[in-house]
Amino acid sequence: MDELLQALVQGFFVGSAYGLLALGMGLVYGVSGIVNFAHGDFVSLGMYLCFALFTAFALDPYVSVIFTVPIMIALGALVYRFLIKPIAGRQLLMVIQLTLGVALLIQNGLMMVFGGQPTRAPSMIESKLFLVGDVVIRGAHLVACIVSFALAILLYVMLQSTDTGRAIRAVQQEPRAAALMGVDVGRVQVMTFAIGVGVLAIAAALLLPGLPIQPTQGLRFTVITLLVFVLGGMTNFVAIMLGGIVIGVAEAIGTIYMTHTLGQLLPYLIFVAIMLFRPQGLVWRS
C-alpha cells in the first residue's frame, strides 16, 4: 500500500512536468498544425544551457532559467521564421523531416560541444526530502509539480483573457477568418512556436535536478511528449496535463509492480490503445 501511494505521488509529480512538456507541443500544433520532432532536443538544449551556466558561473539550474528562457524563445522564433515557415503547409512528411534534421543538428551540436559522457547539473534542493505520512517527497519533484501547474494556469489565463491569447485561439480555430479580422497569422505562428520552445527551457530546469543528462536523450523526451500530447487529444490544455499525469503514474507503477520489460512497455501500450480506440484523447472536446 505504501509502495502504491509512493508510486502514485511520484508519478503525479513527474507527470505534471511531462504535461508541461506537451503543452508547448499542443500549443504549436493547434496554431500551425506542426508536430515538432525536435521537441525533446530543445529540452536537451535547455538542460545543457543550464549545465553550461552551472559550470561557468555555478548558477543553480532554477536561477539560470532567467537566462535560458529568453535564449530559447529567440531560438524558437528564428527556427520557425527561417526554417519551418517556408515549408509549412507542404506535405506533412517534409515538416517532420525538417524537424528531425533540426533534432540531429541540436543533438550532435551538443555532442560536439559537451561530449557524449553523461553529466549532471546539481541543484541546491536536489537532496531535500519531505516526509508526508509514509510517503517520501523529493524537493525537486515538488517544485516541478507546483511550477508546472502554475505555468499551465498562467498559459491558460493568457490564452483566455489577453489580446495575444485571443489572437492565438482565433488562428487555432480558423486562420483565414482570423487573418480577415486583422490578426497577423504569421506573427502569431512565430510567437506560439517561440513560446512553446521557451516553456521547454523552464521544463528542462524542472526535470534537471537528479537526472544525468547526455546529448542523445532528446528522442526519449520527444517520445514521452508525443505520448502525452496524443493522450491529451492534441490541443485540449486540461486533457494534456491529465495525460501527463497518466503517463507519469503509468511509468511509476510499471516500474514497481510489473516485470522490468512490461513496466517499460506500459506507457507505449497505453499510447497505442488510446490512439486506436480513443483518437480524440482522454477527454471529450467541449
Binding site: I87, R90, L226, Y268
Partner: protein
C-alpha cells in the same frame, strides 16, 4: 507493366554500371570497400522503405522492426538453436511480412491519418527496442556474436567483405528494380492514388487494405533480408544499432534527401550521405563525435529548403530542361 519498363532493362547503361560496380572488390582497398558495402546496405534499406513511405506515402517509422527481425531473429535462431541462417533469413522475412501486414491492417481498420500512422509506428519501434534488449533469446542488451565467416555459402557465409559486397550489390539492385517495377505496374498507380487522396482512391475502386498490405509486405520482406545480410557482415549483432528507431530515422532521411517516390532517388540519397557520414566518422569521429550526424542534419535541412522534391528529381528536371534548351538552339 508500363511499356518503358522492359526497354529500360534492355538498355545497356544499367548493365554497364552494374558490371563496373561488380569489379570494385578488385580495385578498391578494404576500407573503401567497407564504406561502399555500408552504402549499399543503406541504399537497399532506403529503396525498400520508399515503397511504403515514398510511393504509397505512408510515413512508416517502424522499419527498424523489420531490420531488427532480419538481423536479431535470424542470428538468434543460428546462435541459440543452430538453425541454418538461410532458413533463419526466410523465417525472419516471414515474421517481418506478418508484422508488416498487421501494421497495415491496423492502419486500415482504424483509418489512421498520416500523423497517427507515423506516431503509432514510432511507438512500435520504441517497444521493439525495449522488447529485444530485454529478451535473452534475442541476445538481450549485449547482442549476439555470429560464428566466424569461413566462406561457406551453404551456411550464409560469403567469405569476407568481397562476398558481402557482391551479395549486397545484388540485393540493392533487386530493391531498386522492385521499386521500378512497382512504379510501372498497376500497383504503383494504385499506391500513388492512395498517397494523393485516400478517399478519392477508394471511391474509384482502389482497394485500400489490399494495396497497402501488399506494399508494406514487399517492403518488410526486402528490409528483413537486408537486415540478415547486414548482421552477417557485422558479425556482432548490436540491438542498439539494428533495432534502434534512429536507424529508421536515418533511412527516412536518406530517402527524402534523394527523392521520395522515385525509383532511384532513395539509392541516390544513400550514395550521397552514407559515404559522407562514414568518412567523417572515420576521420573526425575520434575528436569530434557527433560531427557526421551534424552534417547529415545540415544536408537534410538544406535539401528540404532548397530542393523539397529531393536531389534526384531536381537533377533530372535540370537535365530535361537543358536538353530542351539545346534542342531549341539547334
Amino acid at each position: 507493366m508500363r511499356p518503358d519498363f522492359w526497354p529500360a532493362l534492355r538498355s545497356p547503361f544499367p548493365w554497364i554500371i552494374l558490371a563496373f560496380a561488380a569489379t570494385m572488390p578488385f580495385l578498391l582497398p578494404n576500407y573503401y570497400l567497407h564504406i561502399l558495402t555500408i552504402t549499399l546496405v543503406y541504399a537497399a534499406l532506403a529503396s525498400a522503405w520508399n515503397i511504403v513511405g515514398g510511393i504509397a506515402g505512408q510515413i512508416s517509422l517502424a522499419h527498424s522492426l523489420f531490420v531488427g527481425a532480419g538481423a536479431m531473429l535470424a542470428s538468434a535462431l543460428l546462435v541459440k538453436l543452430g538453425v541454418n541462417m538461410w532458413l533463419g533469413m526466410v523465417i525472419a522475412a516471414a515474421a517481418s511480412a506478418a508484422m508488416g501486414a498487421a501494421v497495415s491492417f491496423i492502419d486500415y481498420r482504424f483509418r489512421l491519418g498520416h500523423l497517427s500512422f507515423a506516431l503509432i509506428t514510432m511507438a512500435f519501434a520504441e517497444m521493439a527496442e525495449i522488447y529485444v534488449t530485454n529478451t535473452e533469446f534475442l541476445g538481450g542488451a549485449s547482442g549476439l556474436f555470429l560464428p566466424k565467416d569461413k566462406g561457406d555459402i551453404l551456411a550464409f557465409q560469403f567469405g569476407g567483405i568481397s562476398g558481402v559486397y557482391w551479395i549486397m550489390l545484388a540485393m540493392t539492385t533487386l530493391c531498386v528494380v522492385v521499386n521500378f517495377a512497382i512504379l510501372s505496374s498497376p500497383l504503383g498507380y494504385n499506391l500513388r492514388s492512395i498517397r494523393d487522396n485516400e478517399n478519392a482512391a477508394q471511391a474509384i475502386g482502389v482497394g485500400l487494405l489490399r494495396n497497402k498490405t501488399l506494399a508494406m509486405t514487399i517492403s518488410a520482406v526486402l528490409t528483413s533480408i537486408v537486415g540478415t545480410i547486414y548482421a552477417r557482415y557485422l558479425a556482432f549483432v548490436d540491438p542498439y544499432l539494428l533495432v534502434s528507431p534512429v536507424l529508421t530515422i536515418e533511412i527516412v532521411l536518406f530517402a527524402t534527401v534523394g527523392g521520395l517516390g522515385t525509383a532511384l532517388g532513395p539509392a541516390v540519397g544513400a550514395f550521397l550521405l552514407a559515404p559522407l557520414g562514414e568518412i567523417l566518422r572515420g576521420h573526425l569521429g575520434g575528436f569530434l563525435p557527433g560531427l557526421h550526424y551534424f552534417v547529415y542534419g545540415l544536408v537534410v535541412v538544406g535539401v528540404i529548403m532548397l530542393m523539397p522534391a529531393g536531389v534526384w528529381p531536381s537533377i533530372r528536371a535540370r537535365i530535361a530542361r537543358k536538353s530542351v534548351q539545346e534542342a531549341r538552339a539547334s
